[in-house]
């Protein structure tokens, strides 16, 4: 059998493709209505009057709690240092220094390094590390999910068990290992360990077990396809939602990683944002006259903005995909 007999289309084609073209808004409206029909009508729960209002109010309160620090950082990124401490925290003040503060990020302050460099570093580590971790997790998850080789169970439990090990026990000795391997102050020293994501392996294994039927793979094997081809053309398209979730979690994980780069980098130019900001925060108190505070605030804002935007864009994936996290071991 030639490869052309293998279908590249996943068996259950996305039903949305079969529908006549509808605008994004129409589709969202329809999904909303379908969701409402799919849920038990609220009136069946027999709630007292006003319960909905009370509960919605609770949500509002917690939403305020959640947004308070974000709001603060937005407002205060526009202020001078004096104003940050002097004026009301939750509103603007003159002068409006947003762009000035933003430009400062591009300068090397205090010989601590340039924020923009840190941003670039973080992006590099997060993308390479995140994508790499996703790839490794996908392969490994597939191997654990659909193959039964000697010791696969034991190996999997060891991988999951590694979650119990404190970061210090792994990262600190890593520094010593690096110093022997000349990996101190190397970007690979940051990226390579980030490729190891036991949570990603767990999630992919669970997801593959749910969404890639064994029979499909066996049928392809009988057709004479090689394992690699089966993985890429049959299994991978079915794994996409799980991949998106793992990708999101991995990128976020590397972006937010503090401990590893703290240990292995002494060269300011290689810092990711987390370590750089930590350093600024330390210097802001010790050498207090530098106008560091506005920078810290602005820096914080620019650090979190890309991820929040990424979240809003990829909403569909973490909403449905974190389902996996709820499946018991």
């Amino acid at each position: 059998m030639t490869a052309s007999t293998l279908s590249t289309r996943p068996p259950d084609a996305d039903p949305a493709q079969a529908r006549p073209a509808e605008s994004r808004r129409e589709r969202r409206k329809r999904e909303q209505l379908e969701e409402r029909d799919a849920v038990i009508p609220v009136e069946l729960y027999g709630l007292k009057r006003g319960t909905v209002t009370v509960l919605t109010a609770c949500c509002v309160l917690f939403a305020i709690f959640t947004l308070v620090p974000i709001a603060w950082i937005i407002f205060n990124s526009t202020k001078t240092q004096a104003n940050i401490f002097g004026t009301f925290g939750f509103w603007f003040a003159r002068p409006f220094e947003f762009f000035h503060n933003f430009r400062m990020l591009f300068e090397n302050v205090d010989d601590d390094g340039t924020y923009i460099d840190w941003f670039g570093n973080t992006a590099l580590y997060a993308v390479l590390g995140g994508v790499g971790a996703t790839a490794l997790s996908a392969f490994a998850g597939y191997g654990f999910a659909r193959f039964e080789f000697r010791g696969s169970k034991v190996l999997f439990y060891i991988v999951i068990g590694s979650l119990l090990v404190p970061i210090g026990a792994i990262t600190l000795p890593l520094y010593l290992v690096y110093s022997k391997a000349h990996l101190i102050n190397s970007i690979w020293g940051m990226i390579l360990p980030s490729l190891v994501a036991p949570v990603g392996v767990y999630l992919m294994r669970t997801y593959i077990r749910l969404s890639v039927p064994r029979e499909l793979l066996d049928a392809a094997r009988l057709d004479g396809a090689s394992e690699m081809r089966i993985f890429f053309r049959i299994a991978l398209p079915l794994m996409v939602p799980g991949l998106m979730t793992v990708l999101l979690l991995s990128v976020v994980g590397v972006w937010n990683n503090y401990f590893l780069p703290l240990i292995i980098f002494s060269n300011n130019n290689l810092f990711p944002l987390t370590v750089g900001m930590g350093l600024w925060s330390q210097h802001a108190t010790t050498s207090g006259d530098q106008n560091l505070y506005p920078l810290i605030v602005m820096g914080g804002l620019v650090t979190i903005a890309p991820l929040i935007i990424l979240f809003l864009i990829l909403q569909r994936y973490w909403r449905g995909g974190l389902l996996l996290g709820s499946i018991a071991n």
């Binding site: 329809r30 209505l33 379908e34 409402r36 029909d37 038990i40 009508p41 009136e43 069946l44 027999g46």
Partner: protein, 436 residues
């Protein structure tokens, strides 16, 4: 006063899908009514609206004289057996059955008594301590029933409770369900897609398709007097053979009304001809059930009723004078032991049956190893009928057991006086009138 009255019940989902359209139905006290139809026909939707689990778009549901549209399902005194049983997985059988009683704040001793009675009725006495995942499918189904009966409801609803069981168990459980129903005595609405269940269990059966009620009658009436092509092919297995035909007079001098089926002609005796007089000279759809075909030949007799048509003319399987014959080529013979299913072709155009009926009809008619062309009919014959694949056979057809349908609407063609009044009283004759 009917225990359940459904009037013009309609359900339209927010996405525009019309799941149920204007259902009219009545269930009398103690009656066992079956809602049957292919998947997507609206039967489960109707049941859930009676339970109160689904919002009603328009129409009313009444229990007795009380309209319950706006009554919460909690207060309707309705018990339901779900298709997947919906047992509480973390509770034991005892606790599952007793859950509703706890809510009613019945005290422990009394609760215990009622639980044990329900368990005994269903033979669950030894299983009270087990959890659902330690039970077989049939046992779980009985626990689901126990949970429902312990509440002594006035209305009993069942949503395909037997469809997850294997075939043999299903047959056993049919009588179980009826036994429980009789011991409770409540009005019961039972949903299934299996026409055999419907026919064997129901006091009356409502056939639905595409959200619309096709016919509501006793099983016998559904079999003898299907209101349209869909009901005709849905009830009975293998399903009725349908062909496009014409009505005319035969070629010789004389004006005997005749059914023209391809190149063959079947003369009709006067009582039958009178039924279809309005369609003289026009096209019709003619149907004949597989069990009403017999083999003309020495000694062989068909499985159809060798008896008396409405007009009193008798008929036997032998090539008696006057019994019309249908010549067919045999394609495939399935031996079942007690009977044979003979798949044949006649040179007539099979009528496209109503959508959905094909799903209900036997698939084997279209598959299997075939000799020659594809078959377009099936007959149920005695095992000793001596029919061979590849051979030619002449079937004796009892004209009194031919069914006629309008080719455009699919409705059955008949005369008002031909329809005896049944349980549904005047409603049935109204429907009969609309069939002309």
């Amino acid at each position: 006063m009917a225990a359940i009255s459904i009037r013009e019940l309609t359900k339209v989902y927010a996405t525009g899908v019309r799941a149920l359209d204007g259902l009219d139905l009545e269930v009398l006290d103690g009656e066992f009514v079956v809602l049957v139809g292919p998947s997507g026909c609206g039967k489960t939707t109707a049941l859930r609206m009676v339970a109160g689990l689904e919002r009603i778009t328009s129409g009313t549901v009444s229990f007795g004289d009380r309209v319950v549209n706006d009554v919460s399902p909690r207060h309707r005194d309705v018990a339901m057996v779900f298709q997947n049983y919906a047992l509480y997985p973390h509770l034991s059988v005892y606790q599952n059955i007793g859950f509703a009683l706890e809510n009613k704040k019945i005290e422990k001793a009394e609760r215990d008594r009622q639980i044990r009675i329900a368990a005994a009725t269903l033979g669950l006495g030894d299983l009270l301590g087990r959890k659902p995942d330690q039970l077989s499918g049939g046992q779980r189904q009985r626990v689901a029933m126990g949970r429902a009966i312990v509440r002594s409801p006035s209305v009993f609803l069942m949503d395909e409770p037997l469809s997850n069981l294997d075939a043999k168990l299903r047959v056993q459980m049919r009588s179980e369900v009826l036994r429980v129903h009789r011991s409770i005595g409540a009005a019961t609405l039972y949903v299934t897609h299996d026409q055999t269940e419907a026919m064997t269990m129901g006091d009356r059966v409502a056939v639905l398709q595409g959200g619309v009620l096709q016919q509501y009658d006793t099983p016998r009436a559904l079999y003898d007097r299907p209101a349209n092509v869909f009901v005709a092919t849905f009830i009975g297995s293998p399903s009725m053979n349908l062909y496009e035909a014409g009505l005319s007079t035969d070629g010789t001098a004389g004006t005997t009304p005749t059914v023209v089926l391809g190149s063959q002609r079947l003369p009709l005796p006067p009582p039958v001809a009178a039924r279809v007089a309005a369609y003289q000279g026009r096209k019709v759809i003619v149907g004949v059930r597989p069990e009403d075909l017999a083999v003309s030949g020495a000694g062989a007799s068909g499985l159809g009723a060798p008896g008396v048509s409405a007009a009193g003319a008798s008929w036997t399987g032998a090539s008696a004078a006057g019994a019309p014959g249908l010549v067919a080529d045999v394609r495939l013979v399935e031996v079942l032991g007690s009977e044979q299913h003979v798949y044949f072709s006649v040179d007539a155009t099979p009528a496209a049956s109503a959508p959905g009926a094909a799903a209900a009809a036997d698939e084997s008619a279209q598959e299997g190893i075939l000799l020659g062309g594809a078959p377009n009919g099936v007959a149920r014959l005695d095992p000793g009928s001596g029919v061979r694949p590849g051979g030619r056979v002449t079937f004796a057809v009892n004209p009194a057991r031919l069914y006629f349908f309008d080719p455009d609407t699919g409705r059955a063609i008949s005369l008002l006086s031909d329809w005896p009044l049944g349980l549904a009283g005047e409603r049935r004759s109204k429907r009969a009138a609309s069939c002309n």
